[in-house]
Subunit: 389 residues, 2 copies
Amino acid sequence: MDIRLARRTEEISSFYVMELLRRAKQLEAQGRDIIHMEIGEPDFTTPQTIIDAGLSHIQTGEVKYTPASGLPQLREKIADFYLQHYAVTVAKERIFVTPGASGGFLLALGASLNPEEELLMADPCYPCNSNFVRLFDGHARTIPVDAASHYQLTAAQIKQHWTPATKGALIASPSNPTGTMIAAEQLSEVIETVNELGGCFYSDEIYHGLVYGKKATTALAFSDNVFVINSFSKYFGMTGWRVGWLVVPEAFIEATEKLAQNIFIATATQSQYAALAAFDPDTLTELEQRRVNFEQRRDFLYNALVRLGFEIPIKPDGAFYIYANCSKFTDDSFQFALDLLEAEGVAITPGKDFGDHKANHHLRFAYTTSIAKIAVAMQRLENFINNKG
Amino acid sequence: MDIRLARRTEEISSFYVMELLRRAKQLEAQGRDIIHMEIGEPDFTTPQTIIDAGLSHIQTGEVKYTPASGLPQLREKIADFYLQHYAVTVAKERIFVTPGASGGFLLALGASLNPEEELLMADPCYPCNSNFVRLFDGHARTIPVDAASHYQLTAAQIKQHWTPATKGALIASPSNPTGTMIAAEQLSEVIETVNELGGCFYSDEIYHGLVYGKKATTALAFSDNVFVINSFSKYFGMTGWRVGWLVVPEAFIEATEKLAQNIFIATATQSQYAALAAFDPDTLTELEQRRVNFEQRRDFLYNALVRLGFEIPIKPDGAFYIYANCSKFTDDSFQFALDLLEAEGVAITPGKDFGDHKANHHLRFAYTTSIAKIAVAMQRLENFINNKG
């Protein structure tokens, strides 16, 4: 038998945080209390309105395939959402319901990216985004970004790094791990530049609902010729349901439909019916309360980390992460994370899960746990730093 | 903007039956009664035991991500199933829960197939299977098969068509569209041959539960070095839930885990909890009754088609399809299907959705509807043939 792996698998990385997670589980099995600040999943349950919508569909017993592009009524609701929330008109034919944002990336890159083509993206960025490029035998070309550009690509960087092999550029805003947003003007320039260069633009907007004090701008406000990936997972609290959506340029509708038929058949039916309640006023009221709660956590965590001596040049605008510079304490953030877990039972994610650029000087703290727990974690972190020094 | 599609999309086909489906919907909107014999989805609802297991998990509100490889207790149940049902031992570490069989194909081919490599498969076969190969920029090399080999590849054919570019071979048994099974001895020879040639073997076993008068043999009975794709969709009646599984050779566990983390994050949680009830004795009793019902439909449809003059050299062993030779009536089975729909309101699938080999002389009839409806459809088919002649 041929036991050679496909070459693409060699360049697709496991997450380093998995090593921490395994150790955290061992420690928990030994009775240790671990505070989890590594988890990219809201700690809230799915809103009851959404649960009820899912339940009532399942009770019919008719959990059958939907069209590959998704339930027509859900595609319409998403189009309405763009109109209501962003004042942007999107034809529902351009909207595909997908198994989470993951499914959106599969379709968008499957329909557009050829082997050996390159996609420009920021370093640091969420590792799955570059791994999707690798899945289709392309190459993620990561560009170091810093606080000056809110950890987001600029039009100048895109021009500078563009080569004949470049297919396009990807921006995730708010960013995972930095939580920072691209300014509307910067986004507009980036999209214009990519279109002028004859490339494709991909906008990862999965954290759009979770922004604090600002409003996120969708790439669709500037151009119809963009791929937009979004999800019901984070803001809408539906992680385990695996349902999201993708907006494609008109020229890609037919190819995307073909791919969806073949790759998924369809997104899980009960998840789509549940998502029909996601835009209900009652749901949105509950989600707004959660957003405010996340904002309070952000403020609490930000202040605590700054007080302890972590450098955070920009207060994050959204998502539920703070990407903190720990160079005052260590030149090896992974070891720092391992030691902190061992000594104090606090789990965080090392910078090297998000790229190479200053990765050893950064740690990602997720505030997907209560302020009470974050407070205990900060006390433990302080002990750890004091004992270390 | 670059509106060039990825090259792979050019070779991924839409399903011709979609054209029929669109027309069928128009006719239904006009009030016409259409009998659907084109649908590859059981008409039964999901068994109540499975529904209840899904509901009670959702009611907890904790629809959170599971591990990428699936719920540990579900992987264990699947391993138990192999032991109970096939008397085969499969380590649960080799079992990955996937979003339907589609997800299994994504992982299996993503982990093993390089661009430009070839996979041998039968013509006719299910079109998604070759399209998955194309998704990863490989090539499906289809080999014409006939009744003599139960429409399945033989070891001799594999040897004959093997080239330096061949990665491996895929067998789907029972087959879609033919419903025929590979004999255990033939399967054993095929696997041995592929392993001797240093390739990978992929076994699509999604119709395994739905066999009549015989027992299906899993590829795992002959070798641990095989990829096996299976699903809760067909036999277990869970199409819309999107949950299946993949068994990989030990050498591919780590790469598959990495891919699953990146491509899916995880399979829908509530679907996995629902599937926990799939192997319960109560569920299996209900599924057995359905299997008997499908067998009665097969017999009824088979006899009716043969009486009308369709050639069916082998009575199908399983799945819910009959692949009938219609050369007595037409040299253009697609036109025949369109005309039949228009004249008599019976929807069936044209041969060319399944390949090139004698495709214009074949039609696929799905018995995913009641015997009463099949009887009416056969009466209408008889009228159509008589009026045509």
